[in-house]
Symmetry: C2
Subunit: 317 residues, 2 copies
């Protein structure tokens, strides 16, 4: 009762000396009656962690336009509901535990990891979690794009333009369900496995892949890339190798990132709702945090075809 009286300010019942002693101990030891400390006890810090892979020494954090757009919308969606975002690049499970425990995060959003990597991260079971672009297991929520549908849209568009020899380019070695979904959709439409060219999602990797495609797959009339950033590089690489886009080779991207409009020719692409992903992740996570226990823990966002200058009719041999 003494402690309770002191910290509640009911000093009438406590001797001044005792009050001073308790107060000193409480302050020295860090038992401050502040909002954060109370939040800690009730598990309401209103702080949400966005965990991203720290691949290239951390500089790759928010390296893709996709990730930047999702993170911005996530921050806005949380802020509207008085929650806030900690941005954290992690390399291993130890860092995840550290993040979650040290700040008593109310929830976690995880982006940019494959399913295998997520399993290795060993996300804590008692903290509400939303994964973006990966599979939800039993407890976590997931926000994904309809990647198979996107692959089909890409296939339909290219087929309608007469393309039969299509190269699929992306991080196909990454075991990413996103990449696998887009490839599966494309295969559905083409009725056969397309040639695949492995490339990481960067402009520079795209440049190299474009030159390689021109050299090693000279009969290909179209390339479908898993990201606009990559497609922009592929297009530049093809042009550098002497191919015209789209007269010789069509290039189709994914995302509808801003840069799809900046490059020449402007990129045709499969648009996904990156801002919607961030907002949906905020909404789903807050429902999980508040124990709403939504029946549907997987949000899947639609895609649409955006036709610009980089795709055209297949060249006649």
């Amino acid at each position: 009762m003494t402690v309770s009286n002191v910290v509640n300010g009911n000093l009438g019942r406590v001797s001044p000396a005792t009050a001073a002693t308790v107060e000193r101990i409480v302050q020295e030891r860090g038992y401050v009656p502040s909002g954060p400390a109370q939040s800690l006890a009730t598990r309401r810090t209103r702080l949400v962690g966005l965990l991203l892979p720290a691949r290239d020494g951390g500089i790759s954090l928010l390296g893709s336009p996709h990730d930047v757009s999702v993170a911005g919308a996530l921050e806005a969606g949380l802020r509207e509901r008085d929650h806030h975002l900690m941005l954290r690049a992690v390399q291993d499970a130890r860092e995840v535990q550290d993040s979650v425990q040290r700040w008593n995060l109310d929830g976690v959003v995880v982006m940019g990891f494959t399913d295998d990597e997520l399993r290795a991260l060993d996300l804590p079971e008692d903290v509400p979690t939303v994964v973006i672009d990966a599979s939800a297991d039993g407890r976590a929520g997931a926000v994904r794009t309809d990647d198979v549908g996107g692959g089909r849209l890409a296939g339909d568009h290219l087929r309608a333009l007469g393309h039969r020899r299509v190269v699929f380019c992306g991080p196909t070695d990454s075991r990413s369900p996103v990449v696998a979904g887009r490839l599966a959709g494309l295969r559905d439409v083409l009725g056969a496995d397309p040639v695949t060219v492995v490339a990481r999602t960067s402009y520079e990797d795209g440049l190299a892949a474009g030159e390689r495609i021109a050299r090693e797959h000279p009969s290909a009339t179209a390339v479908f890339a898993t990201a606009d950033l990559l497609a922009a590089g592929i297009q530049a690489g093809l042009i550098r190798a002497g191919r015209r886009v789209p007269q010789d080779v069509s290039v189709l991207g994914f995302d509808d990132a801003d840069l799809a409009r900046y490059v020449s020719p402007s990129l045709s692409t499969i648009r996904q709702d990156t801002a919607g992903k961030g907002r949906a992740a905020a909404e789903l996570l807050l429902r999980l945090i508040h124990g709403d226990n939504p029946r549907d823990r997987v949000v899947r966002l639609g895609v649409e075809l955006v036709v610009r200058e980089s795709t055209g009719p297949a060249s006649v041999d």
Copy 2:
């Protein structure tokens, strides 16, 4: 002593009933002896806030390649020293106080605000603060680019190519010291006030500005823009208006953002070290947090000219 004994686990000196009572009160009230709570009392949460303007409903957060690059390097710089980043868009002083107090932030980095806006934000005096691209007042540290030097480099490059009628384009109405510095440097070299065209830092504003420059300033042979994103739009707007870049009009950007390499023609630009800004902000802030009291609280990073395809000799009338 009772409280102290209980929370230190010295239960031998305390009766079991008293120990249980103290423990219950401490837990109920949120006085948990966890790392975070101890951090709160000693002002070491190891959490640093990056405050950015919430201009367009928060979606503009990290809207520019510059901000993304700085934020990524800041996160990495803090993480290397076991500190972490809270990303927070703010609209007014109330939100700043809320961020700082509720999480007991160890420090704050502020980016994207003009000097006037910073004064209005009323940053708390007792929390170490580093401002990026604005003036440091007495207590805050500042990380800036040599904007005047950048403006001079731009002027030197354009003069050497024979340009005399140069348009300066950027948010010249924003009272930003960054914009003012670049304009001052350009003016130094040209020996006169250049024509200025007001535009916000976006590709779309650049497009409109490019078309406007073609129409209203037909004799201009060069445009110096305050950001690559803007320069990319200006260039596209000029081309849309029938001008050739660089044969009719040279376009020079600022930043050396990735997109400078993606657009056609690729952008000549004044390179600033955006990643270095983030790293320098992390370093300076941690020195302030640890009471190092560095004598020089302003870090000013250098610039360099990067010549690509968008600048060339002035056209002869």
